[in-house]
Symmetry: D2
Subunit: 226 residues, 4 copies
């Protein structure tokens, strides 16, 4: 078992596929953990809310929430309370994913909530401008994902390298502490290597691994070039 | 241990209070289970999404979800997939709670989703008209909760008995199979008894029990008059 | 100039096409008025909020709003206040169009607001179940539009006649006062005739007329079979 | 009649008060125009969508929209199409008002839409962090309004001067071209003077003028100290 390095970071967003729900989510997370231990790559998983507790308690891999609501404890039936997410075992959260876009007001509030709870924050963005905006809010990570490439199989790191480079440059100008990830269309070792070469510290990905015939092998391929 | 009777039904909505989150949620659900077993009253719990798996797996009490999104499996980061809720252990769900109101389109779609998954549906409504509308969608339960009384400590069954009676009458005219619950301000044995006497089959309640100094005693009081 | 008959009713939803915005909206509404006066068919127009005042003041044709928010006067920057819509000249409003779906709570509230303002209400629905639900709220009209046929060119009155017939039957069972319209894919005289033959009192349509090379001729064709 | 100076800028948000709807909106805008002409202060009005055309056509004062939706022309029933707002006579728009908060994604898209339409953009924000984020999107104006002071009668320029100063400083560091306004609780000449002294170029205000017994006198008082 290798020591897990800090970078590159690979975040696997489980989304709401049946292939990554319940029992399947647990197995997929086990595969992520195995690959992390075998290769030393820092892999995190972002399962559905209903699966956070189970994965956190049965495995030993960092778990992120896919979303948290901008609420304080109280009467908010059906909402995702950050304190509940944390107690279920998550160490951080995606914020403003393109499939769960938030108001600017709420992105700011949820990032601040992660500060107060000691959790990590990964703000997802769709272009250079919104990435810059996100960086001013001081999250741990900004993950840029051009929406037209999500689920396309066309990797952002190869199709639009200048967007990743420009985002890294602008974000580091605004706030050097913010770390940049990129996503959309990422699935192979070349995609991840290209992302790192462009200055990002890792990737956010989903269907390329989740829907692979052999998700463990797909993960091994992903990290094979670094 | 008594046999659990079918009615009256008591649904405890855990909302997002810290007193009903994580470890506290588990303890509160244990109290609910104890009272159900001691009295034979049909108590169900509706914890947060992050706590459904834990409560379902460690206890033996019917668990409802507080909400489900009107989505099919796929790319819906951060949403509540009905199949995930079911696999985590929930046997049904609240729909359209006043703190998580849905479009008419989605209420219809989620009720149909519960049919296909073999889950129970509890559509919450705010007045006589929307209760009638909900009844046409054939859910298992309609739970009427006048919003001005929620969390007020003023029980709907005593403050506005005619609303409960009229709702029962209209719903049974539209669809005799739909069962009627009522909520808002319910906390004592008299409140529950009044609700039953007005023709409803049970109650939906939250803060009156969750925030009580001794939630088990509060539950025992609640069911003491029936 | 013919006397306008009460039925059939033709509601032209201007949506947000450039072909039905501003000066173009005025010309399109003029064409609607001409055809109504030449044929006696009851044509209403539903332009964008910014065009209601202009059309109402320069022409003599019933104007509906495309939407109204469920708000009372006060601090609601950017929202559509029913009183403003009325004062601008609208005599009624579409509610819950498939492109502007509302919560059940708000459909009920806006229908009641139209009662208090003496305006007409046209609640749009997507299937038989939601049509029944809408009918319990006592609007003037329910307009069923299967979403898969909207903008398709395939007319609901011919593609899914049983949906229209069943909707008419169920709505009249629930509330005989509610009048039924249908929409989606309607553009020709045969489509409108089929809609009437199935028991509806008229149609809601948009792109088939708005995007026609000659909108006046398209309207004349639409009403040619009745 | 004085020549209108470029600064200070006073934007009167009409919100959805009956006192600023329809005929009342026209009268209020007339008062704004009179005061602008008598004093040379740059006053703009932001009436409801239904009143934009009427005010733009009957008066000679810059009109802003209270909101525009992030949509292109097409099938968006009930939405606010930027092109319709422009053709009705608006020269710019408020964006992300605290009563009409937008997703970060949509703030960026609407600001870009104003660029392409040659309209002015006023992005409203709630604190220093979201003001910085807004500035990265290159709008013409950022208007900071601490939500706890809106409608309070407690002026931001006097209650929280450091917030205005710090916002001006940070925004000018990020993008010196972005001009800063402030709002919340503004109604008197001292409030406006304080706002200017803190480095902002004007104010956004509403109820303090709209609900005044004599709105023209209230406006004259507002601009009396500059």
């Amino acid at each position: 078992m290798k020591k897990i390095k800090e970078t590159p970071i690979v975040i696997l967003n489980f989304k709401t596929y049946l292939e990554s729900t319940g029992e399947n989510a647990l197995k997929l997370a086990e595969n992520c953990q195995s690959v992390a231990e075998e290769t030393g790559v820092n892999i995190m998983v972002a399962p559905q809310h209903g699966d956070i507790y189970r994965i956190s308690n049965e495995l030993d891999i960092p778990v992120l929430s896919q979303h948290m609501d901008s609420i304080d404890a109280g009467g908010h039936t059906g909402s995702i309370l950050p304190e509940c997410v944390k107690e279920a075992g998550a160490v951080g959260t995606l914020i403003n994913h393109s499939e769960q876009r938030l108001q600017l007001f709420d992105i700011d509030a949820v990032v601040k909530k992660t500060f107060s709870l000691g959790m990590s924050s990964v703000v997802c963005t769709n272009n250079i401008e919104t990435s810059s905006a996100a960086a001013t809010l001081n999250p741990d990570f900004v993950a840029i994902e051009p929406p037209e490439l999500i689920g396309s199989g066309i990797p952002v790191s190869q199709a639009e390298p200048e967007i990743v480079e420009k985002t890294v440059e602008l974000i580091h100008h605004i706030n050097p502490q913010v770390r940049v990830l990129c996503g959309a269309g990422i699935s192979t070792g070349d995609d991840l290597k290209a992302a790192i070469d462009l200055g990002s510290e890792g990737v956010l990905l989903a269907s390329g691994i989740i829907l692979a015939d052999d998700s463990k092998q797909a993960l091994l391929d992903l990290v094979s070039k670094i």
